[in-house]
C-alpha cells in the first residue's frame, strides 16, 4: 500500500495496481467510510480500481487540525487511522442491475473482429459475454461511464490502436478484460458488440447514473 499526495489538496491511498475485486472493495469501503464520517475540510472521497482519493480544502483542514505541520500530514494521519479497521467496515450491499442490449449489425460494429480475434463465432462471443455477472469497479472517463469486469479471457480483445472519433451513445463495448457502456456519444477505443437503450447518465435524474462502484451487472438480450 502507498499513500501519496495528488497535488496539494488531495491524497491517494493506493492498495495495489491490479484489477482485483478484493482491492476494489477496500477502495470503495474506505471512500464510503469517510462519506458517512467526513473529517473537517473533506470535499469528496473518490474510489477507483484499487485506490481511493480524498480531495480537501487546505484552509479548512489547517484550521481544524492545526497541530499538524501541513494539511497533507493531517489528512494522511486521519486516513491511516481508518485503514486497519477497513476489513470490519460494512461492505455496502451489492445489487444486480440488468442492462438490456440489442446485438444487430447496425449496433455491434466490432462483433466480427472480436469473433476473429477469439477464433469463435459471433454467437459464441455473445453467449460468453452474457454468461458473466460483471462488477462495477469505478466510474470515470465520461460522466456515468462504468468500468466493469472481468471479461472472459477468450473474448478479451484489447482496445483499438486508433480510437473511433465517434462512438454512439449506449454502445456496449469490450476493452481487454473490461467492459463498459458509453453514456454519451464520444470518441472511444473499445470494441463495440451491441447497444442499450438504458440511460447510463441523465443529468436531470436522481441518481444521475443507474450504476455506482460496487454494483454488479448482468447484460441481457433486449
Amino acid at each position: 500500500m502507498r499513500i501519496f499526495p495528488l497535488g496539494d489538496n488531495a491524497i491517494t491511498v493506493e492498495f495495489g495496481n491490479e484489477v482485483s475485486l478484493e482491492l476494489n472493495q477496500r477502495a470503495i469501503a474506505l471512500a464510503e467510510h469517510f462519506r458517512s464520517n467526513p473529517f473537517a475540510g473533506l470535499i469528496e472521497a473518490v474510489p477507483a480500481y484499487a485506490s481511493t482519493t480524498f480531495f480537501y480544502s487546505i484552509p479548512k483542514v489547517k484550521e481544524r487540525y492545526s497541530e499538524f505541520p501541513t494539511a497533507f500530514d493531517a489528512v494522511k494521519s486521519i486516513v491511516e487511522d481508518a485503514i486497519p479497521y477497513l476489513s470490519a467496515l460494512p461492505v455496502h450491499e451489492s445489487r444486480i442491475v440488468e442492462i438490456p442490449m440489442t446485438i444487430t449489425s447496425g449496433t455491434a460494429f466490432d462483433l466480427d473482429v472480436v469473433a476473429e480475434f477469439s477464433g469463435l463465432t459471433a454467437d459464441e462471443v455473445i453467449s460468453i459475454f452474457l454468461e458473466r455477472i460483471y462488477n462495477v469497479f469505478m466510474i470515470g472517463f465520461l460522466p456515468g461511464f462504468a468500468y466493469m469486469g472481468t471479461v472472459d479471457e477468450r473474448i478479451a480483445m484489447p482496445r483499438k490502436k486508433t480510437p473511433r472519433t465517434k462512438v454512439p451513445k449506449g454502445s456496449v463495448a469490450i476493452g481487454g478484460c473490461q467492459t463498459g457502456v458509453y453514456p454519451l456519444g464520444s470518441p472511444g477505443g473499445w470494441n463495440i458488440i451491441g447497444r442499450t437503450e438504458m440511460e447510463m447518465f441523465d443529468p436531470n435524474a436522481d441518481p444521475l447514473c443507474p450504476l455506482k462502484a460496487g454494483d454488479r451487472v448482468r447484460f441481457i438480450r433486449a
Binding site: R2, F4, P5, L6, G7, D8, N9, A10, T12, E14, N17, E18, V19, A31, I43, E44, A45, V46, P47, A48, Y49, A50, S51, T53, F55, I58, P59, K62, P69, T70, A71, F72, M138, I139, G140, F141, L142, P143, G144, F145, Y147, L184, S186, F201, P203, P207, L208, C209, K212, A213
Partner: protein
C-alpha cells in the same frame, strides 16, 4: 436588466468556482481555468466569490449593456474598450445603457473574466453554474454563448471604484516556472528524465484547451514502462504519455486516468498555468507540500483581507 452577446467570441462560457462532490460519478468540477481572477473580480464587486462569471477566450465576445451597471474584468488582458474607450482590468467600471464592451487584441494571457454585481444569472446543475460542455448542462444551457444570447443580471452601480491590489493578481507570464509537487511515479523517472523535467522548457502545442495542455519538448521516460489501473486525476496533474511527452490536465479534465503521474502543479500556480496558450513555454520547479500549502494559505489570507477592506471602504 440584461447583457446581450452581440458577437460570441471563440469560446465564452459561464463558470463559477466549480461543481464538487460528483467525481465518483465521472463528473469533473469544471470551473474557471484561472480561479484567482474569478474570485478577485467577484470580491471587487461585492459578490460571493462563487458568483457566476464569464470566461472568455480571444477573439472575445462583444457585450451590450441594456441598462446601467457596474462590471469588472480580470485575468488575461484583451485590451477591453467600452464604446471605444479603453478600460483597465482589475478595476470596477460602470457601463451605461446601450454601451458596448469590445476586446481589441490579446496582450497577455488567454482567458479573460467578466463579472457583474450579483453574478451572471445562469442555470445550475448539481449546485454549480459552471458549464459542463460534455454533458451539455450548467451555465448557458451547457453550451458556449452564441450571437443574440442574453444574460440576466441585476442593475447596480457602485458608488466607489474598487481596485484589485497587486498582491492578488497572479504573476502571469508566457514562459512561467510552475511549482510542482512530485507525483506517484516521479521516483520511477530515469536520471536523465528527472533532470530534463527540472531543467528543460516545454512548449504548449496547438492541441491545448480547457481539458488539458499537450507539451512538446525533451522526451522524459520511466526506467521501466509501467501500466497503471485507472486512478483519480486532478486539475494540474502532469501525466507522462508512452512517447515520452507530457500532458497537463486542466479544468475540464477527465476524472480518472492510467498514465504515470510525474507531478501536480500547486494550487497557487494553477491560475498562471490557466492563462497559458499554444506556443507558450514552461519549466517546472519541484517544491515541498509545505511550500505549496503556505503559498495557497497566503493567497487565501490576501483574498480575505481584500474582502474585509472592501467592505470597510465601500460599505456594502
Amino acid at each position: 436588466m440584461s447583457l446581450v452577446i452581440r458577437k460570441p467570441g471563440i469560446l465564452t462560457t459561464v463558470q463559477d468556482l466549480g461543481r464538487f462532490g460528483s467525481r465518483s460519478l465521472g463528473v469533473n468540477p469544471n470551473g474557471p481555468m484561472d480561479v484567482t481572477a474569478a474570485r478577485a473580480i467577484n470580491i471587487a464587486l461585492g459578490n460571493d466569490e462563487n458568483a457566476a462569471v464569464l470566461e472568455m477566450h480571444f477573439p472575445a465576445p462583444e457585450i451590450e449593456f441594456s441598462n446601467d451597471t457596474a462590471f469588472c474584468i480580470g485575468g488575461a488582458d484583451f485590451a477591453p474598450e467600452l464604446d471605444g474607450k479603453p478600460v483597465p482590468n482589475w478595476t470596477t467600471q460602470v457601463a451605461r445603457k446601450d454601451q458596448r464592451l469590445r476586446f481589441r487584441t490579446r496582450v497577455l494571457g488567454n482567458r479573460s473574466y467578466f463579472a457583474v454585481p450579483g453574478g451572471c444569472s445562469s442555470s445550475e446543475w448539481l449546485g454549480s453554474a459552471s458549464t459542463n460542455l460534455l454533458a451539455s448542462v450548467g451555465g448557458n444551457d451547457g453550451r458556449a454563448f452564441e450571437s443574440g444570447d442574453t444574460i440576466d443580471c441585476m442593475s447596480s452601480c457602485l458608488e466607489k471604484t474598487v481596485c484589485i491590489g497587486r498582491s492578488l493578481i497572479p504573476n502571469y507570464s508566457s514562459f512561467p516556472a510552475l511549482r510542482v509537487i512530485r507525483g506517484a511515479e516521479f521516483e520511477l523517472l530515469t536520471a536523465i528524465g528527472e533532470r530534463a523535467f527540472q531543467t528543460e522548457m516545454f512548449r504548449l502545442t496547438a492541441d491545448s484547451n480547457r481539458m488539458g495542455f499537450r507539451l512538446k519538448g525533451e522526451s522524459v521516460h520511466l526506467l521501466h514502462p509501467k501500466e497503471l489501473v485507472s486512478a483519480a486525476t486532478t486539475f494540474g496533474t502532469i501525466q507522462l504519455l508512452p512517447d515520452g511527452q507530457m500532458i497537463i490536465l486542466m479544468a475540464d479534465h477527465q476524472t480518472a486516468g492510467g498514465y504515470p503521474r510525474i507531478g501536480n502543479i500547486i494550487s497557487a500556480d494553477l491560475p498562471v498555468a490557466g492563462q497559458l496558450g499554444s506556443g507558450d513555454r514552461i519549466s517546472f520547479k519541484l517544491v515541498s507540500t509545505i511550500e505549496a500549502e503556505t503559498a495557497q494559505l497566503a493567497l487565501e489570507r490576501d483574498l480575505r483581507f481584500f474582502k474585509v477592506g472592501r467592505r470597510l471602504t465601500v460599505g456594502c
